[in-house]
Symmetry: D2
Subunit: 166 residues, 4 copies
């Protein structure tokens, strides 16, 4: 059952600006409305906001925690996994999703974008990192301006990925 | 929400004897009936049987996979996490649960029992490993004979653990 | 170069009895004398004693640490790796070695024995855990009484393993 | 002993351009000459070139491998650790070092730069990724043009870090 449902990781800072939290909550609602499961790091800030939005719209949320205690998940996490792996849990957030959406973000978010690109997960970005290398312009992040655009792009990419991999 | 609900890891072989599969399926039903979430390694054998039983009784199941692809979970896994960590995922199965129930089991199961004891998770066992050290008789595994006894003991331990840790 | 040299993991408690520390130190010397590299968890107790013995005899020692800081290795660790993975580092100790020798041991040691058996690494034991399953007598741990016997058995197994895998 | 010696992680592509391999080999020599231990991912390309250079100059090299088999390390790795963790081993390369030097690099290198910045390890870069966020110019990568400059900067940073953390 889990295979056919789009899973979208939403990544962003634990200590985020108000505008990012509003954006993340709206993104949660937009993803849930489109039938996507939200995957995140399970803690506060953007992670909590996106889960709150998703749950308001009747959606499901997965929180993959860095610590040992499932109870540290934010209250809008539906299913929490306690990894005890510290920052290495960032990889699991990315692996468990079909697509990643970055909302703003600090260095933890940067590490998740990097792993998403490394593992071949499409990345959608709202006001997030830009990456470049000498001799190559731009990166492979699909940049959008609104939560609705991000949700539409993420679900489209997840569906495409699920179709082509079968 | 996830904090207050008992999470029970059920561990056992991917290639298990028929009697173990029957036992695991019944255990899944008994756990679901008591409101517990089943956590497992997400693959076949005992893992699939316990998920099938839990889902039949309307319960929820979490599969924590060794590989990169969420799609490799057995069809009765409700929420799958792709770790890409190989056997190290065994720790995450244990950490995510309040209590562990071992049904038979080979060496992977032994590693999960060992981590459960190390992390302080109570272990309930049905026809599983026995551990001893020179100068000390027995181990801390609570041995039971039936799926119903295992489910009752596991949920009681999970509830006790959740109460005393607050 | 690293491939042809026997690597022996020595596992045991961080808080060990005096007799175990004496045994571990002698084991370190015996392993170093036979040209083996000692792999361990890098901290105190049996881990420190075996490293001290190995270094006294001119041998090399690798410490694979649970934490973030290489500086927490015991002073007899030659090469320290900071994993930040907590108890999951126990798997890396086992994987990096050809053979595992358990000296006494608590629950962490039990988890390493379990992973060694799971990964197919031979296990030599001195006064350590005994494992059994219903219907099967005994386990695959080769039990010895002295540090010299342990070192001889470990190096023989490591050499055998290295020969047959090529 | 390991605590006082500068450990420098050198990161770069497994399939790298000739100029990068030449640069990495020279960097290995320059680091070894300054008494630094080289830490890397243990495989080919930039990883092999930097190890070869370090060993030519009498230095020591640590290879932290993604797979299960220590024997897969390149022949210039002095001490190999088999993690079995796949790409998650990238974090261990960074954690084990005081400073990171990136030579060119693809997406794996990007993930290591991200983790280095996240974990507070200084990053020195030669022709590598540039990172920026809306509203903030530049990143914290210290950019240099030659292997000698990279080695000087890395060892200076490692020494500074070791001094201030005591």
């Amino acid at each position: 059952m889990t295979a056919g449902v789009p899973h979208v990781a939403v990544i962003g800072a634990g200590a985020a600006a108000h505008a990012e939290l509003v954006m993340a909550e709206e993104l949660g609602r937009e993803l849930a409305t489109r039938g996507a499961v939200v995957v995140c790091g399970g803690l506060g800030g953007v992670m909590e906001a996106v889960c709150r939005g998703a749950r308001e719209a009747g959606g499901r949320t997965i929180g993959i925690l860095p610590g040992d205690d499932r109870g540290h998940a934010n209250p809008y996490v539906d299913v929490a996994v306690a990894t005890g792996l510290g920052d290495a849990r960032n990889l699991l957030v990315v692996r468990t999703a079909d697509v990643v959406v970055a909302v703003g973000g600090e260095l933890g978010t940067l590490s998740e974008i990097a792993f998403a690109l490394l593992l071949g997960r499409p990345v959608v970005g709202i006001s997030t990192w830009e990456l470049s290398r000498p001799g190559r312009a731009g990166d492979d992040i699909l940049r959008v301006a609104t939560a609705r655009e991000a949700a539409e792009a993420a679900v489209a990419q997840a569906t495409l990925r699920s179709t082509t991999s079968e």
